[in-house]
């Protein structure tokens, strides 16, 4: 044999041993999968969270994703205290330094110095409102990058004109640029002069000469938005009311750095304002650093930021210490991000919970695989032990083998994880740590399992326990009881404290512990009904039922580990599905609550929904039912109460409906139980007759009289039936009044709400109809509200991760099932061989073989059902899912049909695999197999 051939044989020997390549591939695949999950899960979590953060940050105005410092100081009469452009720029760096290590976008930074506004003395007549326009002179750094020169030139000169003969003071002629809007509004053009008096007597007058017209290059940036006057003249509010001032145009002109010092000097004695703007780098922010960013910004705003900026200001500007009157550092970022952050916090707690449990399930799969390997290696390792190998040597041998398989598998898993998931900004050390641990587990656990199985010379005791030295073992019972107690305590703690409120590992493991406890209970309980069935089967003809049940009843869950893994992974899948479906249902319900119908149009105040709008909406394609109703909230300005006969008046909401059309519409909504019949007009409708109404439970007795008061007007009514929340009023206590009786209450106007149900209703068409028939009408679309709830960054990311976790859990379930079946494959084959030798038919043999997997499947289904129900009942209310739906109360997590699908799928798959296996067994040489299986 060639040298290369020898090496290859040696390598193959190390990797496969006597068990063959199938197990080697399995070990490598499990190592790959576990490392893939361990590395990918934190990376995907980070990526999804960061993506959600980016989506949340994207629509925020730049002004809110920034830190701004503002200072005001007084320039003395002698001109000291003037801030030069370099000084202003220097302070920009000081502020940015304070904001760091929060990432700052240097390209967007600017400094601004601006003066008090002064009236223009020579305005064009068109620019004068009640008062003449005012002008502030603004210096803003980086003008060239934010503005485009339309005509003329950028400012760059300042001249001090000598006082005119007879004048006491000179004139400061300042070049400046204005925007086209300012130029148009004030009637300015290149070369125009805007003349202003001095701020205080004894100073130069300031004349601004327009040298150029500049158009904003990026009008949506804070450069133009911070002070809107710079971009276009505004009329300061208020212009009406008690505090009203005569309207005038307030405008600004931009000067260059050369003019800045003289302008300040010219405004000597007045307050000069400075502003420093530091935008935060959104792209550099991530979920991991967000809490630190917020904490640091809070420190900058409330602590060091102001003083740090204040300190160098006097030195830079020459303003004596203490002359700076106001200095504030502010940011709108924490407020802008707070809603998202609350959602993300709740989502992250659940995401971490699911991912931690999926990792635990993956670990159990590794342990199950190790058990499978120990079982397959048993003949080889038994021989080695018999030949003088120690348990440590056996473990070392398996370690060498599993390491040879796990390391390439782990590398492949990590590579796939890196390829599938985006790189986290911080390099995700947690992912690599978990990946390393998973690789160590994949290599080490098979070795530990083999060492443990062969700690004695007779692996597994070979069933020949010495009768004299044998002692009954309470180990399993004690271990099971301990696990049950821990699981119970963890669930109780989780229920009391809430999941995700803390970061303790135990609460994260609650679902796994609950599933493990349920699996143990199911393993203990399942033989009881089987034995009952066995008694029934004993009296029936045919061997299959009896044989199958007898095996199922007597089979020990030798493969308890696969059953445990199966229950845990299935429970995680079911739990994930339950959470997602509960959130989805809850979001749908929230959308119904907010909209009331598929489309709702609220009439403007004191407006009635016109009949033509009702007809127009009803005619839209997809609209099934339309109802125009009047709704008056119970706690609105117009008081409405219902006083049952002899009872006390209680505030109620009032809904007036046309019973027939509303009942038809209500059937399309989640509140379908609207009883139209009791509201029908019956007999006399004279003024004194009591009007039948539907009232919320607790409002008077059904059939009893009551008095409805709306805005002081009273109407005798009779409670003809009950109503719960309904499309027109989705919350609170209410009274539904028939439309035919509405005229008897003069305080009730016509319908103010139009409700429509149907599918595929064109919102633009409805909008057009509303614009045409009822301008100002407010349209609520259930689909849009739902899309808003589901599309919110944090819930969307959470749903994405839940589905992913559920998918991984389902995959782990399949693997656990296959391992469980692999562990019992030999005994199943022996059973079929024996039955075939006894002359049983192939179909019957197959049916009995299926009984081999019944314990595993029964425990899986029972355990999953128990664990799922327990988790939903105990842990469900502790989960903070309300943030995803905007619901006031907790979101109910309940069992759903979809949650049972993974377990059902596993049962079908298990039976299919066994059936196929049985067919293969039936085709082999029974005599040879029986000889091979005979004990040696």
């Amino acid at each position: 044999m060639s040298r290369a051939g020898q090496r290859w044989r040696q390598a193959r020997r190390i990797m496969t041993g006597e068990a063959g390549p199938g197990l080697a591939w399995t070990l490598a695949a499990v190592a790959m999968l576990s490392v893939l999950i361990a590395v990918a899960a934190p990376r995907e979590l980070a990526a999804v969270q960061n993506s959600a953060l980016r989506r949340a940050l994207a629509p925020l105005p730049a002004l809110e994703v920034s830190v701004t410092a503002q200072a005001s100081w007084q320039v003395t009469k002698d001109g000291s205290g003037v801030l030069l452009p370099d000084g202003a720029q220097q302070l920009t760096g000081v502020l940015a330094g304070q904001v760091r290590p929060v990432p700052v976008a240097p390209a967007g930074q600017w400094a601004s110095v601006f003066t008090t506004t002064l009236p223009i003395q020579n305005p064009t007549p068109g620019a004068v409102l009640s008062n003449p326009p005012t002008l502030e002179v603004v210096y803003r750094s980086n003008l060239a990058s934010y503005a485009r020169l339309v005509t003329g030139k950028l400012p760059g000169a300042v001249r001090q004109l000598a006082p005119r003969p007879g004048a006491r003071h000179g004139i400061l002629l300042v070049d400046a640029a204005v925007t086209p809007l300012t130029a148009r509004r004030l009637g300015l053009h290149v070369g125009s002069l805007a003349k202003m008096n001095s701020y205080l007597p004894g100073h130069s007058k300031v004349w601004v000469r327009v040298t150029g017209i500049v158009a904003p290059r990026r009008p949506d940036t804070p450069f133009w938005q911070t002070d809107p006057t710079v971009a276009a003249p505004i009329i300061p509010l208020p212009t009406t009311g008690p505090d009203a001032a005569p309207p005038f145009w307030q405008s600004a002109a931009l000067v260059g750095p050369a003019e800045m010092a003289q302008v300040q000097a010219a405004y000597g004695g007045s307050i000069i304002h400075g502003e420093w703007f530091t935008p935060l780098e959104r792209g550099a922010m991530n979920q991991a650093t967000l809490p630190g960013v917020l904490a640091h910004l809070s420190g900058v705003v409330t602590g060091n930021g102001g003083p740090a900026l204040l300190q160098p200001l006097p030195a830079i500007s020459g303003v004596p210490q203490g002359e700076t009157t106001i200095l504030t550092v502010s940011t709108g970022f924490p407020a802008a991000i707070s809603g998202f952050e609350a959602q993300q916090r709740a989502a992250a707690a659940l995401e971490t919970l699911l991912i931690a449990d999926v990792l635990l399930a993956a670990l159990l799969v590794v342990v199950t695989c190790a058990r499978l390997a120990a079982s397959a290696y048993r003949p080889e390792l038994t021989l080695i032990r018999a030949r003088g190998g120690s348990a440590r040597q056996v473990a070392g041998r398996v370690l060498a083998r599993s390491a040879c398989l796990a390391v390439p598998g782990a590398v492949a898993g990590a590579a796939v994880a890196v390829a599938l998931t985006p790189a986290p900004p911080d390099g995700s050390p947690a992912a690599w740590l978990l990946g390393g641990l998973a690789a160590v587990a994949a290599a080490g656990i098979p070795a530990l399992a083999a060492g443990w199985a062969h700690r004695s010379i007779r692996p597994g005791g070979d069933g020949r326990a010495d009768l004299v030295t044998a002692r009954p073992s309470w180990r399993r019972l004690v271990a099971e009881l301990t696990l049950l107690i821990i699981a119970g305590a963890t669930l109780a703690a989780g229920r009391l404290r809430g999941i995700g409120s803390g970061t303790d590992a135990l609460s994260q493991a609650a679902p796994v512990l609950a599933a493990a406890a349920a699996a143990l209970i199911a393993a203990r309980l399942y033989p009881v009904p089987v034995r009952g069935l066995l008694r029934l089967a004993a009296g029936r003809p045919g061997p299959v039922g009896f044989l199958a049940l007898a095996r199922a009843a007597r089979a020990r869950i030798g493969a308890l580990l696969p059953a445990l893994t199966l229950v845990i992974s299935l429970t995680l899948a079911a739990f994930g599905v339950m959470i997602v479906s509960s959130v989805t249902d809850s979001q749908a319900a929230a959308a119904w609550r907010q909209a009331g119908a598929d489309v709702a149009v609220q009439a403007p105040l004191n407006t009635v929904v016109p009949a033509k709008l009702v007809r127009a909406v009803a005619a839209e394609p997809g609209v099934r039912h339309v109802a125009a109703v009047y709704e008056l909230p119970g706690h609105g300005k117009v008081g409405s109460t219902l006083q049952p006969g002899g009872g006390t008046a209680r505030p109620v909401g009032v809904v007036v409906v046309s019973a027939a059309s509303y009942a038809a519409l209500a059937r399309d909504t989640p509140w379908p139980d609207f009883a139209a019949a009791p509201l029908a007009r019956a007999g006399s409708t004279s003024t004194g007759t009591a009007v039948p109404v539907l009232a919320s439970p607790g409002l008077g007795a059904v059939g009893g009289p009551a008095t409805l008061t709306v805005g002081g007007n009273q109407l005798p009514v009779r409670v003809a039936g009950r109503t719960g929340p309904t499309a027109a009023m989705t919350a609170g206590t209410l009274v539904v009044l028939p439309a035919w009786a509405a005229a008897r209450l003069s305080t009730l106007s016509g319908p103010n709400l139009l409700l429509a149900t149907g599918s595929g209703i064109s919102l633009p068409a409805v909008r057009a109809a509303v614009r045409h028939a009822m301008p100002g009408g407010l349209i609520r679309s259930r689909a849009q509200i739902l899309a808003g709830l589901r599309g919110a960054p944090a819930p969307r990311a959470a749903a994405q991760l839940y589905w992913l976790s559920t998918g991984v859990a389902a995959l782990l379930s399949v693997i656990a099932l296959l391992f469980g079946l692999a562990l019992t494959r030999r005994s199943r084959g022996q059973l079929i061989d024996q039955l075939t030798a006894l002359g049983i038919g192939s179909r019957q043999a197959r049916a009995v073989a299926v009984s081999e997997v019944l314990p595993l499947l029964a425990v899986a289904v029972l355990g999953t059902a128990v664990a799922g129900l327990v988790l939903a009942a105990v842990l469900g209310p502790a989960l903070n899912l309300a943030v995803f739906t905007g619901a006031a109360g907790p979101v109910r997590v309940g069992p759903s049909l979809a949650a049972a699908l993974p377990a059902a799928g596993i049962v079908v798959l298990g039976l299919a695999v066994v059936s196929v296996q049985s067919t293969a067994f039936l085709r082999r040489n029974v005599a040879a197999m029986l000889r091979q299986d005979a004990p040696g």
Partner: protein, 353 residues
């Protein structure tokens, strides 16, 4: 159950720690078993595999152990190989008290003192190893040097006439070659005792002869004491000592020796002996029991040089052939030397006391 309790109590008397009651193996004895008991339960069914077995094998012996299936042969062999632990009694192999060994000592014992061959070749050899590598494996486990691991397999393979098979994988060897390699594996660490559990059970007679020859070679040339469990007449008839085990005890022994008659002709003579255990119990061969219709109890008579055994029948005309001395066939009047013996209720085959 009472019998079991008695058995356990008897074996406990010789349990480890009760040194005063322990019997020292006679000089030259390599395998020494005294009242060896092994009782275990399989799926709740109690099995008394060894019921107070006594055995002595001297150094350098080649001994066959025969008996019906389930008689306890393999259990005995596993105990001697330190692959199983007895419930009670005494088992000493090459000076190692197997009931007193700790885990590390048992490991060292398995490495250095015994070699073992199973019936199934698949249990003896690793299929992905060559013949030489299989032999080197126990040496590696025992910490032998690399040079020894290269030298010793080659020597053993030459000795076993397998020199050309050193580089072949197990699957490339015939069944007989595999079992001979297994002999080599068992001899790798130069053990004192070689234990073989039906080594020829899966082989045809020609091939079995080759394997048996290998065992004889090991015995003759390396001086290893060999104990073979076998059903193979060819094996049992070609060893000097064949021990029959029945119901967990040694029942009979056949000793073969070469005798030279008055004409100088050499002939193999086999003589069957019944074995008397240390408690004085004797198992009568089954055919003796059935021929004379012995049941329930027998009459014993002590003669000057033998013991007479008669069926418990009132008719004295039926002589008891078991007594082979001068008094055989002659009824003996009840006296101080006479006893009535009742076979053990659970032991078929006329166990006498």
């Amino acid at each position: 159950m009472a019998a079991l309790d008695d058995l356990i109590a008897a074996s406990r008397k010789a349990a480890p720690g009760d040194q005063q009651r322990r019997t020292a193996p006679p000089p030259g004895t390599v395998i020494f078993c005294d009242r060896l008991v092994r009782i275990f339960s399989v799926s709740g069914v109690e099995t008394q595999a060894l019921q107070g077995l006594d055995l002595e094998v001297t150094a350098g012996e080649l001994t066959a152990l025969v008996g019906a299936s389930g008689s306890g042969k393999s259990t005995l062999l596993n105990i001697l190989a330190a692959l199983d632990q007895p419930t009670g009694g005494q088992a000493v192999v090459a000076g190692h008290d197997l009931l007193a060994l700790g885990a590390a000592e048992r490991l060292a014992y398995r490495r250095a003192t015994v070699g073992f061959i199973w019936q199934q070749t698949s249990r003896n050899l690793l299929s992905h190893y060559t013949a030489a590598e299989n032999i080197a494996l126990p040496m590696k486990l025992a910490g032998a040097s690399r040079a020894d691991r290269r030298r010793r397999p080659a020597e053993l393979l030459e000795l076993l006439d397998l020199g050309d098979c050193a580089g072949r994988l197990t699957g490339e060897l015939s069944g007989g070659q595999q079992q001979r390699v297994a002999v080599g594996v068992a001899l790798a660490n130069q053990p004192t005792v070689l234990l073989a559990d039906e080594p020829t059970g899966e082989l045809d007679s020609d091939t079995a002869a080759g394997v048996f020859a290998a065992l004889r070679t090991a015995n003759a040339e390396l001086g290893v004491t060999v104990l073979i469990v076998t059903h193979d007449d060819m094996v049992s008839e070609h060893v000097r000592r064949t021990i029959a085990i029945r119901d967990g005890r040694i029942s009979t022994e056949v000793l073969r020796r070469t005798q030279t008659d008055e004409h100088g002709q050499e002939a193999e003579v086999a003589q069957e002996y019944s074995v008397l255990d240390r408690a004085g119990r004797l198992q009568l061969p089954g055919e003796f029991v059935s021929t004379l219709g012995l049941r329930d109890r027998v009459r014993l008579a002590l003669e000057p040089d033998h013991v007479g055994v008669w069926p418990d029948q009132p008719d004295p005309a039926v002589p008891g052939p078991l007594g082979s001395g001068p008094g055989a066939g002659t009824p003996v009047a009840p006296g101080p030397a006479q006893r009535h013996s009742e076979p053990g209720s659970g032991a078929p085959g006329g166990q006498s006391r």
